[in-house]
Amino acid sequence: MSDPRQESDAAARARRGRNIAIALGLIVFVVLVFIVTVVRLGANVLDPRF
């Protein structure tokens, strides 16, 4: 009988897939915040009033 504490291969693969998806999501969010900051700062830098 299999040990219930042992994670099956399918469960491990699924968990790994989920973790990679979460990591990618966070990386995308950080990159987006960075890009938005650059775009908005850039617009202000080019604005002669500042």
Partner: protein, 319 residues
């Protein structure tokens, strides 16, 4: 208050299950109408920021869909159309769907505020809360007017898009909202006319179960009569051009024709189920299915024409 049941996962969740929680098809419609609002605003927006605004609208819609699936798991498991969804099917735990919904909603609102403006972010937050709390948790199980009032959540994306581009929401933005709002009852009730047995089983008070098929068909006709003039209106408020006028009038005539045929039919009077588990679309119910399919085409054509006119720089009929 009804709560979603504690669903145990039968098999490990894959990342595709989490994508399904976001209702990608609904998301694509929201993106389309949000983009139309953003373009129709007619203000110069940095393309990167415009893309971020659309992404925020899409992710916000996905977040509210995940919250909906978390809360409605007990209803979804009873209906054939929805029992394959990740939570009722046991592929994703309710708590995980809730966490995903909350995180995506917060991220989308925060990013919209930082990238564009806080009016757009506030409207996005209102839309998410309205769909997840007012519609899903309250109206859906309470009244047959659920999709009428709840339809506001689906109608707001063009206003959010407009606000993101312009920082304001003029009358024309709300006109686009009103079109989708008025379009929702004929669209959903024609679907409900041939799936009402499913809703009855789940004890969801949809109009055909509560007021009967005849009353539903009459209300569909009334909403259609109000909808079509509203769809033509943008041609006279400085929003739509000649192409839009032609599409809205000709398409509207088709819409009214199908609504009239549905009104005269017995659609929804005798819903049936085939032995293979599929819906039996009887000859009479076909009129409901025709209006349901046509309503999607009509709305898509209206917004696609507006989008094309504004992207191509064609002049509106009135200024």
């Amino acid at each position: 208050m009804a709560m979603s049941p504690a669903v145990t996962t039968a098999q490990p969740a894959r990342w595709q299950d989490f994508v399904q929680l976001l209702k990608p098809r609904v998301m694509s419609l929201v993106v389309f109408t949000g983009l139309t609002g953003l373009v129709c605003a007619g203000r110069p927006v940095d393309p990167i920021l415009a893309a971020v605004a659309i992404l925020c609208i899409a992710v916000g819609a996905g977040g509210s869909a995940a919250l909906n699936m978390w809360y409605d798991a007990d209803i979804d498991i009873q209906m054939r159309r929805t029992r394959g969804r990740p939570v009722p099917a046991g592929r994703v735990q309710g708590a995980d769907a809730l966490a995903l919904g909350v995180v995506l909603s917060l991220f989308s609102v925060m990013l919209m505020g930082m990238a564009l403006n806080w009016l757009a972010a506030g409207l996005l937050a209102f839309t998410i809360l309205f769909y997840a709390v007012v519609y899903t948790m309250w109206l859906k199980r309470l009244t047959a007017q659920n999709i009428v009032i709840g339809g506001l959540a689906g109608a707001l994306p063009p206003v959010i898009g407009w606000a993101a581009a312009a920082g304001e929401t003029p009358l024309n933005a709300w006109l686009l909202c009103a079109i989708i709002f008025m379009w929702t009852p004929p669209h959903f009730w024609s679907l409900a006319l041939y799936t009402s047995d499913d809703y009855a089983k789940a004890k969801v008070p949809m109009m055909p179960n509560v007021a009967g098929a005849k009353s539903t068909r009459r209300q569909i006709l009334i909403y259609s009569l109000l909808l079509v003039p509203l769809c033509v209106a943008p041609a006279f408020t400085g929003l739509g051009g000649k192409a839009y006028l032609a599409v809205s009038v000709l398409g509207g005539a088709g819409f009214l024709g199908l609504a009239w045929r549905l009104f005269r039919s017995r659609a929804g009077d005798a819903p049936g189920e085939r032995k293979d588990g599929l819906y039996d679309v009887k000859l009479e119910a076909r009129t409901a299915r025709n209006l349901f399919a046509y309503s999607i085409l009509y709305l898509t054509l209206l917004f696609a024409t507006l989008l094309t006119e504004h992207l191509a720089g064609w002049a509106p009929l009135t200024s």
